[in-house]
C-alpha cells in the first residue's frame, strides 16, 4: 500500500540520504583531486593544473615512504596481536561463565569510553615514568591496547550468534579442546575475526592522537601528514591516500562479487553472510 504521501516521503528520504553521502565524500573528492595537482613549490593547496607526475612517483619523498611503511608494518603487527588476544578474550567471555567476567567486560569496555587524548597521555606518562624510550614498539603497544577492545566486541557479536552445540558436537566426535578450536570454532568465527582484523588495522593505520604521544623518533603516515600540514602537505600524500582508498574499494567490490557468486550458487540464503555492519565501525583519528 503506497499512498502518494508515502512516495513523497520516500523521495525525501532518498534525497536526504544522497546529500548526507555527498557530505561524507566532499573532502574525499578534494583529496583525490589534489593528488593530480601540478603544484609548483612545496605546498599543495592551490589548483595549478593537471598532472600524473605524482602518481608516477608516489615514493619520491623517502620519509613519506618510510612513514607509510611504518604505518603498514605497525598496523600488521597490531592486527595480529590484537586479533589474537581479542579473539581469545571474546571466546572466554562468551563461552565460559567464570567469576570476574563482569570486571573483565568492564575493562574491555572502558578503553572504548575513554577519549584518546587521555589514553595517549596516560600511556606516555607511564613510559616516561618507567624511562622506556618511545618508538616503534611503544606505538604497537598503544595500538594493541586500544584496538583489542574493538576486536573483543566484534568477535563477541559473532560468537554470540553461534550455536555452542556445534563445538560440543566436535568434542563428541573425538576432537580435543584444541582440535575443536582449530577445526570448528575458528573457521566458524572467521568472518567475525576477519572483520575485527580489518577494523583493527583500519584504526591502527589511521590513528593520529595516541600515536603522536607515543611515537618517539618513529614517524607514521598520519604523523607525517600532520607534521606536513605546517609545511604544506606534499601531493604524494594525496596519491598514497587515494591509492589506499581505491585499493579498499576494489577489495570490497571483489568481495561483493564473490558473495554474489556464492549466493547464486547456494540454494539457501544463509550462506550469504549478513553484512557485518557492526564490524565496520570505522577508525577514529
Amino acid at each position: 500500500m503506497q499512498g502518494r504521501s508515502d512516495r513523497i516521503r520516500g523521495w525525501g528520504l532518498g534525497i536526504w540520504s544522497a546529500i548526507a553521502l555527498l557530505y561524507l565524500f566532499i573532502p574525499i573528492f578534494i583529496v583525490v583531486l589534489f593528488s593530480f595537482n601540478d603544484n609548483k613549490g612545496r605546498f599543495n593547496f592551490t589548483w595549478q593544473g593537471f598532472t600524473l607526475d605524482h602518481w608516477a612517483q608516489p615514493f619520491a619523498d623517502p620519509d613519506l615512504a618510510t612513514a607509510l611503511k611504518n604505518s603498514l608494518l605497525i598496523a600488521a603487527i597490531t592486527t595480529v596481536i590484537a586479533t589474537a588476544l581479542g579473539t581469545f578474550m571474546a571466546l572466554a567471555l562468551v563461552r565460559y561463565g567464570f567469576r570476574g567476567r563482569g570486571a573483565v567486560d568492564m575493562l574491555v569496555f572502558l578503553p572504548l569510553a575513554t577519549p584518546e587524548v587521555v589514553l595517549g597521555a596516560a600511556l606516555l606518562a607511564l613510559f616516561l615514568t618507567a624511562a622506556v624510550s618511545t618508538g616503534f614498539v611503544t606505538i604497537v603497544i598503544a595500538h594493541v591496547m586500544f584496538t583489542v577492545s574493538y576486536v573483543v566486541v566484534t568477535v563477541k557479536a559473532r560468537l554470540e550468534g553461534m550455536d555452542r552445540h556445534i563445538e560440543e558436537a566436535a568434542m563428541d566426535l573425538g576432537a580435543t579442546e584444541w582440535a575443536t578450536f582449530r577445526k570448528v570454532t575458528l573457521p566458524m568465527i572467521a568472518p567475525g575475526v576477519g572483520a575485527a582484523a580489518l577494523l583493527a588495522s583500519a584504526i591502527s593505520i589511521d590513528d593520529y592522537v595516541i600515536t603522536s604521544f607515543n611515537a618517539g623518533q618513529t614517524t607514521t603516515f598520519p604523523l607525517f601528514i600532520f607534521g606536513a600540514t605546517r609545511q604544506g602537505v606534499p601531493p604524494e600524500v594525496n596519491v598514497l591516500a587515494s591509492a589506499l582508498l581505491f585499493a579498499v574499494l576494489i577489495l570490497m567490490g571483489l568481495n561483493v562479487l564473490l558473495q554474489r557468486r556464492l549466493a547464486r550458487r547456494s540454494l539457501a540464503r544463509e550462506l550469504v553472510d549478513e553484512p557485518q555492519a557492526g564490524a565496520l565501525v570505522p577508525a577514529r583519528g
Binding site: 556445534i166 560440543e168 558436537a169 566426535l173 573425538g174 566458524m188 547456494s266 539457501a268 550462506l271
Partner: protein
C-alpha cells in the same frame, strides 16, 4: 527405580544428581540401558532429559553419582574420550564443512586412514539415503536432510550408543512422521543402542522398545509403550502418555481377580485386583483410556458385564480418523471418549446434550495414587 535390574547394561547411571546453582535439574537418578535397545526418555519441558543425556555424553559433570559406559566409570572423562555420540536437537552441523567432511570429522579425529574414511563416510550417507549430496554445505539442505546428516555423522563412528536429543523437534509434523520411521529402520539395521530424548509421547511410543517417563529430575515409570499406556502406575504417567479419564475412588472389596471400588459420586467400578497393589486403599484414582470406552444411547442396549457410567455429551468433535466426545459425568468430571470414525459422521443419538451410557471392560481399568494438585 528404572530397570536397574538389567544385568549387561550398556549405559548405567548410579545416583546421578545435577544441580545448576539452586536448580535441581536431575535428582539422584538411576538408569540402566541394555545393549542394542531403543530407549526413549520422555518427559515435559524442563524435567531434566537434556541434562541427563549431556551427562552421558560428557558435556556436563554430575554433581553427584557416577556414569558407566559398558562397565567403565567415565564420570570424569571428557566427551572425546567416550565412545558414545550425540545427535543434537539443532543438529549442530559444521556449517563451514561439506556434508562429506561433516561425516568424516569423527573418523579423521581417530586417525582412521584416508581411504577408509571415504568408504565409511559414503556408506553412512547411503544408509541415511543422502548418497548424492556429499558435496553440499549444510545450509543447502532441508531440515530433514540436515537431520539425517547429523545422524550419519554420529553413526559413522560406530559408537557404543547414540544419544539423540529431540532430533525431530524442529521439524514439521509430516517430516517428523517420516523420519520417525526412518530412524527406527536405521536403528534396526545397525543394532546400536539409541537413547532418544523427546517430549512427544506419540513419537516415543511409536519408536522405543523401552520408554522412561521423567518428571522433575527423576524417572516415574519405565517400560514398554503398551505397559505404560495400558497400566500407568502414577497419575503423571497416566496423563502425560495419552489422555486418561481419572475418577477419585476408594477401595470397597476384593474378590478374586477383581476388586470393587466406589467412585466419589457413588458409582461402583471394578478393577483388576493386582493393580491396587502399591497404592493405599483410600486415596486412589481409577482410570480408563478414552478409546476403551463404548458409548450407548442412555437406557439402550448396553452389555451388562462391565463397568458402566452415565453422562451427558458436551462436545462431539470430528477429527477425521476419529470422533472425539466429551462427556460430563454426574460427579462433574469431563470424560473423553474416542470412537473410530467408522461412518463418516457422529450418530444423532450421541449428539451434544444427549444422555449416554459409557461402558468398558474392567480389565482396561487402571489405578493410580492420588496426587496433590500442582
Amino acid at each position: 527405580m528404572a530397570g536397574s535390574e538389567v544385568a549387561d547394561a550398556d549405559i548405567r547411571l548410579e545416583g546421578v544428581t545435577k544441580r545448576f546453582g539452586d536448580t535441581l535439574a536431575v535428582d539422584s537418578l538411576d538408569l540402566a540401558i541394555e545393549r542394542g535397545a531403543f530407549y526413549a526418555l520422555l518427559g515435559p519441558s524442563g524435567c531434566g532429559k537434556t541434562t541427563t543425556l549431556r551427562m552421558v555424553g560428557g558435556f556436563e559433570e554430575p554433581s553427584e553419582g557416577r556414569v558407566f559406559l559398558g562397565g567403565d566409570d567415565v564420570t570424569e572423562r571428557p566427551p572425546y574420550k567416550r565412545d558414545v555420540n550425540t545427535v543434537f536437537q539443532s543438529y549442530a552441523l559444521f556449517p563451514h564443512l561439506s556434508v562429506e567432511r561433516n561425516v568424516a570429522f569423527g573418523l579423521e579425529r581417530s586417525k582412521v586412514d584416508r581411504e577408509e574414511v571415504r568408504r565409511r563416510g559414503a556408506e553412512a550417507l547411503e544408509l541415511v539415503q543422502l548418497g548424492g549430496l556429499g558435496k553440499r554445505k549444510p545450509a543447502q539442505l532441508s531440515g530433514g536432510q540436515q537431520q539425517r546428516v547429523a545422524l550419519a555423522r554420529a553413526l559413522v563412528n560406530r559408537p557404543r550408543a547414540l544419544l539423540l536429543d529431540e532430533p525431530l523437534g524442529a521439524l514439521d509434523l509430516r517430516l517428523r512422521k517420516q523420519l520417525q520411521i526412518e530412524l527406527k529402520r536405521i536403528q534396526r539395521d545397525v543394532g546400536i543402542t539409541f537413547v532418544h530424548v523427546t517430549h512427544d509421547q506419540e513419537e516415543a511410543m511409536s519408536m522405543a522398545d523401552t520408554i522412561a517417563v521423567m518428571n522433575e529430575g527423576h524417572i516415574e515409570q519405565a517400560g514398554s509403550a503398551a505397559e505404560l499406556y495400558e497400566r500407568p502406575r502414577t497419575e503423571f504417567v497416566a496423563n502425560f502418555l495419552g489422555v486418561s479419564n481419572l475418577i477419585d475412588a476408594r477401595l470397597r472389596a476384593t474378590d478374586g481377580a477383581l476388586a470393587t471400588v466406589e467412585t466419589h459420586d457413588g458409582a461402583t467400578l471394578r478393577v483388576p485386583a493386582d493393580r491396587i497393589g502399591p497404592h493405599g486403599s483410600d486415596a486412589i484414582r481409577v482410570g480408563v483410556r478414552p478409546e476403551k470406552i463404548t458409548l450407548h444411547p442412555a437406557n439402550g442396549a448396553a452389555p451388562s458385564d462391565g463397568n458402566r457410567l452415565r453422562g451427558t455429551v458436551v462436545v462431539a468433535a470430528f477429527l477425521g480418523v476419529s470422533i472425539q466426545y466429551v462427556i460430563r459425568a454426574p460427579g462433574g468430571e469431563e470424560l473423553t471418549v474416542i470412537a473410530q470414525n467408522l461412518d463418516g459422521s457422529e450418530p444423532e443419538s450421541l449428539g451434544p446434550g444427549r444422555e449416554v451410557d459409557l461402558t468398558w471392560n474392567p480389565h482396561h481399568t487402571f489405578v493410580v495414587g492420588k496426587e496433590p494438585p500442582t
